[in-house]
Amino acid sequence: MGYLGGFLVSLRQIGRKQRVTTQYPKEKAPKPARVHGRHVLNRYEDGMEKCIGCELCAGVCPAKCIYVRGADNEPDAPVSPGERYGYIYEINYLRCIHCDLCVEACPTEAITESKMFEFSFTNRADAIYTKAELVVDDEGLPQKLPWEDWRPGEDTMTSAWMRATSPSGAANFEGIVGWSGELGYGVRAPEAAQDIKDAITSPQHDDHGHDDHGHDDHGHDDDSHDGGH
């Protein structure tokens, strides 16, 4: 049909059941495993807090939204296994840009990010999360505050981004556990190698995915290393 062929293409879409729209407030699109959401402060399997109050997260934060003060542990009732613990820990979510540099800076994997980013507060006090709100509960799950929109499954992968980075700085870290256990989960399993994961997530038409990775990994020899970016 030449010029007019396009009209048939669009006409054929009428009445199709296939829809690309996600009815957002009612349903949500699936989130990537490493999406950057609201932070949590993790605890060890025995319930001790991981945070040691070192303020590296506050130092690296480009938005200057983290405020930390450390204090010495009481020898009788220690909060964290080490010498010191995070006495005050506040994140101002009016400033946070969810860059995850704090997660990368943290030496004890204390701070990680959940997948929940849909929270709307109505005053400044709610926007500044204190330590009491950030620390995970006794099951190791993030606390669900009234102004946050949690859906099932969003609170499970709270440390995915941390586990996707190389804890030792080595390029080839896949399959290597480089992190401590977490309350409620134990030692989390490492992520699958990139080529295996590609095969799992997009079995048929993953041309685009591979193309993207090809651009990302320009200069790398081996494709299996690319999770470390």
């Binding site: 396009g6 293409v9 669009s10 006409l11 879409q13 009428i14 199709r16 296939q18 829809r19 009815q23």
Partner: protein, 403 residues
């Protein structure tokens, strides 16, 4: 042919006549508003269907009340007036756009009994009248005049906003509307040539009944040839600033063009006028080329079938409008001007010449075959010369001889 005009106004004008006219005014006003509301909903819903989206689905059944909700929201929005705006003109401009949009519909025959050789007049409270608000002798020229006045609204809105993008957008808009009005007018010329009248009512009467084989309709689409219809369809989309010719509102380049600085109900006036013009333009196309309300009365009263045929044709045309919008990507500004000046205007000019030749040939009883051959040959020669001229100027431009 002298246009008779509406028989209602021919005799003594008394209270009943005034009331009937008022009834028609209120009826058309209500119809236009409701039709515009439904058109906005239909366009959003149908385009989303073409693009595998959902579209409005929350307000009312199938989201049909979405436009109403938007309208109410517009009323309660803050009415911003830019500090650098030329305030009087800024306030006047939306009305210059919306009033012609309403007036444009007054000449449209939206109903009437055209079946079985009736002339479209109906009995209303004991008076004979046409189902159209006004049937002036200038007829379709009024439509051209109104759409030209609407350009002022666009132009002044952009100029008075005191902002760069609206100004650029309004310059584009007025250039586009003025140049496509030429193609629009020339294809109307072909219709006027065929029907021999400017009155919209007379046009519908001339298209009523059946042509060949007592089955093919007697429409101007066939009588004036398909070319004016196609040219009019394309040019009307440009005149309405609808996609694919919405370079005026190219968001990526010009934000919102001439209505960038408008907010609240002033913006809503522009928005309503745009979609109202779409409805009216569909009605004009139906009147000019598809016989308007003329059509067979299958059963029941004939005047009812006039309205039904009118609505069927208008809705069908609006369907095509939205279909085009959902299919064709936006053209570039220079492509738009090329299409207007180098294709549509020469094409409709040539077609008018051929059409006029045929009419003269029929009256003078010339040999039909020779007329067609010579007419076609002249048409082709003209086409070749135009092609040659455009190619030459393009080559010279590329060589840098002229800018």
């Amino acid at each position: 042919m002298m246009s008779g005009g509406d028989p209602l106004l021919a005799g003594h004008v008394d209270l009943a006549v005034v009331l009937i006219v008022l009834l028609k005014v209120v009826g058309i006003f209500a119809f236009l508003l409701v039709a515009t509301m439904l058109m906005i909903w239909f366009e959003r819903k149908f385009v989303s269907d073409l693009q595998n989206r959902v579209g409005p689905n929350t307000a009312g059944p199938f989201g049909v009340l979405q436009t109403l909700a938007d309208g109410i929201k517009f009323f309660f929005k803050e009415d911003l007036k830019p500090a650098r705006a030329e305030l009087r003109v800024f306030i006047l401009a939306p009305f210059l756009t919306v009033v012609p949009a309403f007036l444009l519909f007054t000449i449209i025959p939206f109903g009437g009994d055209f079946s079985n050789g009736h002339d479209g007049s109906v009995e209303m409270f004991g008076r004979t009248t046409y189902l159209q608000l006004a049937d002036p002798a200038i007829g379709i020229l009024f439509a051209l005049a109104m759409s030209s006045i609407a350009v002022y609204g666009v132009m002044l809105a952009g100029w008075s906003s005191g902002s760069k993008y609206p100004l650029l957008g309004s310059v584009r808009a007025s250039a586009q509307m003025v140049s496509y009005e030429a193609a629009l007018g020339l294809s109307i010329c072909a219709v006027v040539l065929t029907t021999g009248t400017l009155s919209t009512h007379e046009m519908v009467v001339s298209q009523a009944g059946s042509g060949w084989g007592n089955f093919i309709p007697n429409w101007n689409l066939l009588a004036a040839g398909i070319v004016p219809f196609v040219v009019f369809m394309i040019a009307s989309q440009a005149e309405l600033n609808r996609p694919p010719f919405d370079v005026v509102e190219a968001e990526q380049e010009l934000v919102g063009s001439y209505h960038t600085e408008y907010s609240s109900i002033r913006f809503a006036l522009f928005f309503v006028a745009e979609f109202m013009n779409s409805v009216t333009m569909a009605a004009i196309i139906a009147t000019l080329f598809l016989g308007g309300p003329a059509g067979p009365a299958l059963f029941g009263p004939g005047w009812l079938w006039g309205m039904i045929w009118f609505l069927v044709k208008v809705i069908g045309l609006l369907f095509v409008f939205v279909w085009v919008r959902g299919t064709v990507p936006r053209v570039r500004y220079d492509q738009l001007m090329d299409l207007g000046w180098k294709v549509l205007i020469p094409l409709s000019l040539g077609w008018i010449l051929v059409l006029a030749t045929f009419h003269v040939a029929r009256e003078q009883h010339w040999n039909g075959v020779i007329t067609i051959v010579i007419g076609g040959a002249v048409f082709l020669i003209g086409y070749g010369l135009l092609k040659f001229a455009i190619a030459t100027s393009k080559a010279r431009r590329l060589e840098g001889v002229v800018d």
